[in-house]
């Protein structure tokens, strides 16, 4: 990356921060919520892309790591005096009943805990390949959820936790997303990133070249879990409440769609994917509302239609547009300049590369 480009990137981030400030102060809470959700989903999409897109390990455990992060935030940020109210069915375990943390600390703690769990689970599971890994990680995220449901004195079980101090400030969430983005971008462009990609392309060749499969897969898995935990914590704080049903394994599919749409192995793609999926789902909402067209009530439009369209789009995307928006390339300044010079040949070239 040239010096000029680094400078440009910093300016772009600063400009986007300006936009975030504008959204925070000038826009209504509906827009703010959508923007916040886009940003949080971007963090989790990035984290998922690290294992699935860059290291090529198909993991479906994101919901479980999010649950860990969200619950650490849920358990430790609720003000102590409000806790008896929340844990009205079974009193909280006295060991943790009086520990209260500020949000930022709880977010980091949640991320670290998720990374620790990822290390423990990754050691046996990451030896598996392809579909086996997918099902094992999915199963693990279900185990976490079932444990949370049953451990009532720690997590309040199915009753969920309420009164998490609300965080609805676009600026903070933007900063968290920016930090995630920069960290993962630097990681991908370091020697670790090259090792990750080597594993993705060919495990056996990578190992022969002296790349430690165990160490690199585990490292990526832990970093991914850390950011998924932080993202989960932000998700919990954004909603102000968490309960185990939030973290059904189907939640992971949202992020799968984001990274598939954005391009597996493209971090700017994940950002775009998060925005398109979140905003797109809101946009598709018109399909759920009854539609009067030329005085006729079209019976096709009723609740549920939106989700049919949404899943059909996902299918179409996988079938006809397998590489997503970005493929494995990035939205870099070089590419943007090339695009500005000659948009048609740019796409032609990219098509050929695929």
């Amino acid at each position: 990356m040239k010096k000029k480009d680094v400078f440009l990137t910093l300016i772009a981030i600063a400009a986007l921060f300006g936009v975030a400030c504008f959204v925070q102060t000038e826009m209504d809470s509906y827009i703010r919520r959508i923007v916040n959700l886009c940003l949080v989903y971007a963090i989790i999409g990035l984290s998922m892309n690290l294992t699935n897109g860059f290291v090529g390990q198909f993991s479906l455990g994101q919901a479980g790591f999010m649950a860990i992060g969200a619950y650490v935030v849920g358990i430790f940020t609720v003000p102590v005096e409000l806790r008896p109210n929340v844990f009205y069915a079974a009193p909280m375990n006295p060991l943790i009943a009086d520990i209260q943390m500020p949000l930022w600390l709880a977010l980091i703690a949640g991320g670290l805990l998720a990374a620790l769990v990822a290390f423990l689970i990754g050691t046996p599971v990451l030896r598996l390949r392809g579909d086996y890994l997918a099902v094992a990680t999915l199963g693990f995220s279900e185990i976490i959820r079932i444990w949370i449901t049953n451990a009532q004195s720690i997590t309040n079980g199915a009753l969920g936790i309420k009164d998490i101090p609300p965080l609805n400030d676009v600026r903070y969430i933007f900063l968290a997303t920016a930090v995630t983005f920069i960290f993962i971008a630097l990681l991908i462009n370091s020697s670790y990133g090259r090792a990750f990609k080597a594993i993705r392309e060919d495990e056996i060749a990578a190992e022969a070249m002296g790349v430690s499969l165990f160490w690199h897969k585990n490292l990526a898995f832990m970093i991914s879990a850390f950011f998924a935990g932080v993202g989960g914590g932000l998700y919990g704080a954004l909603l102000g409440t968490v309960d185990p049903k939030n973290f059904l394994f189907t939640l992971t599919y949202n992020f799968l769609l984001i990274i598939v749409l954005g391009g597996m192995g493209s971090i700017t793609g994940s950002m775009l994917g998060a925005v398109i999926v979140t905003a797109g789902l809101e946009f598709l909402r018109v399909f759920d509302e009854p539609l009067m067209l030329f005085g006729m009530d079209i019976p096709l439009f009723r609740p549920g239609f939106r989700m049919v369209i949404f899943s059909a789009l996902l299918m179409a995307c996988v079938l006809f547009w397998r590489h997503g928006i970005m493929g494995t390339s990035e939205l870099t300044w070089k590419n943007i300049r090339a695009f500005c010079k000659n948009p048609f040949s740019f796409f032609g070239r990219k098509g050929a590369e695929r």
């Binding site: 046996p124 086996y132 185990i143 079932i146 598939v260 239609f305 996902l314 079938l319």
Partner: protein, 306 residues
Amino acid sequence: MEFFQAIANMSGDSLAQHLANGISLGSLYALIAIGYTMVYGILLMINFAHGDIVMMACYFAFFGITVFHIPWYITFVGVIIATAILGVVIERTAYRPLRDAPKNSVLISAIGASFLLENLANYLFSGRPMRFPNIELLSQNISIGGIQIQAICLVIPVITIISLVVLLHIVNHTKTGMAMRAVSKDYEIARVMGVDIDKIISITFIIGSSLAAIGAIMWGIRYPGITPMMGVMPGLKCFIAAVIGGIGNIKGAVLGGFILGLGEILIVAFFPQLSGYRDAFAFIVLIVILFYKPTGLLGEKTTEKV
């Protein structure tokens, strides 16, 4: 300690009842797991939509009997045919275009197909549960000694065993079966040797989906609530059963189904306080099995080719 106490306290009747429950559940898992294993054996992909095919088959049966008042024995044949067609349609649209794509793309497509079927069912049939048609002959109660079971629970293991025998015959002693094994061993070479890959895969999907339909009918009679999401958990568990037994291996799928079914029942029988963790059992067994024997109990050992 508690474990032995639980056994000591358990009367003979209770234990026999638990075993009967376990065998009935296990054979149901086994029946659906065979479908999974068939598809995996040929295509080397998890057909995530298999559980949702089961769900659709239940709705077909509901519409046939409850809405259109077709006699059940005719409906069931119709359900099997309709489900087989659905399976082939899914294969043609969602999997065939990706035949030469990376495995992860196929996996995502399978997840997408499952998601689409669920949303479609929710949209078309609404989220309210419907009752699977009652067939008095099969749902009546029978009491043998101190054990109470439903007639269907005696039928399911028999059907599972019959399916197993028929399938083993098809795979091992027919020309189609030979072609299936060839495709499963090496896809490219089978193609070069003149095997019509598309046809073999379609046949596999017809067999797998028909088994899903039979499983769905059994499932529906035993647990008669039909909802759009009903296929998700059974789908996952039966897949796990197939993995435990060694995916791709038909006998293994049946073995895995029984291990999972009996295990789920017996863990609640011996440790009643763990009943809330029952659904986690399948996943824990999965991870343990994959750790110690990644190819499953009856799976062949394979080495990754360079």
